[in-house]
């Protein structure tokens, strides 16, 4: 008897927590199907249901809503960012993990320290550097901003490469393979899980970033924006009553691909946080 009570309370408690965690998400989804454009402050569920918000999102672009364009912008930025970042991270990790040269330790420490300084702080200066070479309000500029410093995030991938047996590389060297060949033919194929992690991780950056994009894409022209800024803009004081449920629809659509990638990545997430010290 006591056991059943414990079992039931335990699961009721968990269910309660899940409800707390999911209520805002549920509100997002139901509001996106609301027939009323502003915020419904009286009822949790909308009074009239419709697909108009999704229609407005995709078929009726105006000066505020350019969802398809935003999606394309963000996608392009994300793809290039992810390619460049992944290449940089792999190059730096291989160098730090497998090659031995003078100043390696010093460079590594310097990189780690530099990476710990949050980017938010120097962003004004980044903005000015980009502005003086004319790359603000350009997607090329955004790609550079997101990917140029990515080599600093090498630590996790390096930790992974450290676990690849050194005898593999030695054997290849005896066969006469150059370092470049060892890198391309042996280490990269063996690092596939880490590459997946890096690819997804860097792909997600432009989708979630708000502050840098807001600073860099400041022209006020909706077609320049990424999704994050576009959606933020809809909630400005003068627009919110006309666009709130469209914002919700936009939020739902952008969440679908992002959450799939996130779930794919979550098994690497633990290792990322603990610096690979969990070696099961």
């Amino acid at each position: 008897m006591k056991k059943t009570v414990g079992f039931v309370t335990r699961h009721l408690f968990l269910a309660f927590l899940v409800v707390v965690w999911l209520i805002p998400i549920l509100w997002l989804v139901v509001t996106s199907f609301s027939g009323y454009r502003g915020i419904n402050t009286a009822h949790f569920f909308p009074e009239t249901w419709s697909l108009d918000n999704y229609k407005a999102l995709f078929l009726e672009p105006d000066s505020v809503v350019q969802y398809v364009v935003w999606f394309r912008n963000t996608l392009v930025i994300a793809i290039f960012t992810c390619i460049i970042s992944t290449i940089f991270v792999l190059m730096v990790s291989y160098t730090m993990s497998c090659l031995r040269f003078k100043g390696r330790k010093g460079l590594m420490s310097f990189g780690i320290i530099l990476n710990m300084f949050p980017g938010v702080l120097s962003m004004i200066a980044v903005y000015f550097v980009m502005k003086s070479i004319g790359l603000t309000n350009s997607h090329l500029g955004m790609i550079i901003v997101y990917s140029a410093g990515s080599g600093l995030g090498y630590l996790i991938t390096k930790g992974f490469m450290d676990t690849i047996s050194v005898s593999l590389r030695e054997a290849a060297r005896l066969e006469g393979a150059s370092e470049a060949k060892i890198f391309l033919r042996i280490i990269i194929p063996l690092s596939k899980p880490m590459i997946v992690y890096t690819v997804i991780n860097s792909f997600l950056v432009p989708w979630g970033d708000f502050v840098l994009a807001k600073l860099m894409l400041n022209s006020g022209i909706a077609t320049d924006w990424t999704i994050a800024i576009g959606l933020f803009n809809m909630l400005g004081k003068s627009l919110i009553n006309k666009y709130f449920s469209i914002f919700c629809a936009g939020g739902v659509i952008v969440s679908i691909p992002i959450s799939i990638l996130f779930v794919l990545m979550q098994k690497f997430y633990v290792e990322g946080v603990t610096g690979g010290s969990v070696k099961g």
Binding site: G208, L235, S259
Partner: protein, 474 residues
């Protein structure tokens, strides 16, 4: 000590190369390629000569004009003359203080890099001379290229990432530091106005409070809240995450995977969407307030005195104390699933034999948790806890997205320096630049945040070095 020695050796080698080098090495001091050409490395020699020429041109046309004005940051004011006859307005050859500053820093960077190349060049040329004297093989150009993919592969791999880091991390940081010593603000905005060096004036005004300058007051308040917030945000989510992971992983809990996935849904939605949504959820005239009013919670809180009498709603995100509490709670909502993920991973690797033997010795569940589980988890995640703390000091998203456009400060002293009670140093910095163009003060705040973060990161860093066993698994 070791470091000093290696720096000493660096210059000693350079000296030896000059003293003992033959005529070609000495000639290389003036024409960088000479030593190579003498050893039949013609292409290397030509590349060096070209490099030197490019550097000379850069110095004359780029570095020199900018560095000459670096001391004053420009003296020629922007002037526009409109000619009524031709209807064309002409602009004079004005100085742009910001570009002078930026270009000077880049020039200094290039000059330092060139000096390093220059020294390395002389040393290499001397080594070539030694090789020749000893009858050793001297690489052909083709062999040098090959070496870039072999024993010098690190140079090939690191060049591009390093350039990226210099451009996007190091130069911006240097510019930021430089601006803190200037009077760059809304009254001194290039190109229409000049700005100049002011020494430590900005640092002084950050610590003064007077009738007109209230930065000292605001800085104190914002700093205290930033540290409070970072501490609360880190520990609540950390402890919460471990407890939640424990609870779900407990063998009495059915379907652990399903529960975990349900919590994951909440964080799989991009943060800016959920935060903006939650902000409207708790708005003064929002849905939560409607519900609270309907069930009588608002009136109850009024009776208790937690909500002031003249309000008809609960000021979740508009009253300083309420907003602070709400921000921490919302952050718990955002943060616990992440921490739960991490804690789950760590807990799965916990050595079970210890727990087993403790249980046999008669330890109860709480004792096991406090004496075995927690120390183990802390040992593994300790360093990341400090990293989290630093991340929270700079947690721009949560604060900005929850309170921007919503929260208005009533404190006149804070408002004078454009700060709010719920601001972190970084959000304050962002507002100062993005809305008020007060770059000088923003830079000073930036530097101070740097120092605070550096103090904490150094602690982590020494820990990481200690635990650095990179070759254990190879």
């Amino acid at each position: 000590m070791n470091k000093l020695k290696s720096i000493g050796n660096y210059f000693k080698d350079f000296g030896t190369a000059i003293v003992k080098g033959d005529i070609w090495v000495k000639l290389s001091l003036f024409i960088m390629g000479a030593g190579y050409i003498a050893r039949k490395q013609v292409i290397n020699g030509l590349i060096m000569i070209a490099l030197q020429a490019v550097f000379a041109v850069m110095c004359v046309f780029y570095a020199a004009p900018n560095l000459a004005k670096f001391g004053t940051l420009g003296t020629v004011q922007f002037e526009q003359v409109f000619d009524p006859l031709t209807l064309i307005s002409t602009v004079n050859d004005y100085d742009n203080s910001f570009l002078i500053l930026l270009n000077s820093i880049i020039s200094l960077f290039i000059i330092v890099a060139f000096i390093l190349v220059y020294i390395a060049n002389v040393k290499t040329v001397y080594r070539l001379q030694r090789n020749k004297e000893e009858g050793l093989h001297i690489n052909t150009f083709r062999e040098d290229i090959k070496a870039l993919f072999n024993e010098k592969f690190h140079i090939t791999l690191l060049t591009l990432p390093c350039i990226g880091v210099v451009l996007m991390n190091i130069i911006p940081i240097l510019v930021l530091v430089a601006i803190a010593f200037t009077n760059y603000d809304q009254q001194h905005m290039p190109p229409s106005a000049l700005f100049t060096w002011v020494g430590f004036k900005n640092f002084k005004s950050l610590f003064t409070t007077s009738v007109t300058v209230t930065f000292g007051y605001s800085f104190g308040k914002v700093l205290v809240w930033t540290l409070e917030w970072a501490f609360l945000a880190t520990f609540t989510t950390f402890i919460g995450g471990i407890l939640m992971a424990q609870f779900i992983n407990n063998k009495n809990t059915k379907w652990p995977k399903m529960w975990r996935t349900l919590f994951m849904v909440a964080i799989a939605v991009p943060q800016f969407v959920t935060l903006l949504l939650v902000r409207n959820f708790f708005a003064d005239s929002g849905i939560v307030n409607t519900i609270c009013a309907n069930i009588g919670l608002t009136d109850f809180l009024k009776d208790v005195g937690l909500v002031s009498e003249h309000l008809t709603y609960i000021p979740f995100l508009t009253n300083p104390s309420w907003a602070k509490v709400m921000i921490v709670i919302i952050n718990i909502w955002v943060g616990i699933p992440y921490q739960m993920l991490v804690a789950t991973g760590v807990l799965m690797n916990i050595p079970t034999d210890q727990i087993e033997s403790a249980r046999i010795d008669g330890a109860n569940r709480l004792q096991i948790f406090v004496k075995i589980t927690m120390p183990y988890v802390l040992f593994i995640t300790g360093p990341s806890l400090i990293t989290d703390f630093v991340k929270n000091i700079n947690n721009f998203n949560v604060i900005y997205l929850l309170t921007q456009d919503v929260y208005v400060t009533q404190d006149q002293l804070l408002a004078n320096s454009h700060a709010k009670e719920i601001d972190l140093l970084v959000t304050w910095l962002f507002r100062l630049t993005n809305e008020y163009y007060n770059y000088k003060m923003a830079s000073v705040i930036g530097i101070l945040v740097f120092i605070i973060c550096a103090a904490f990161t150094l602690v982590t860093f020494t820990q990481m070095i200690k635990g650095n066993r990179e070759e254990d698994f190879q």
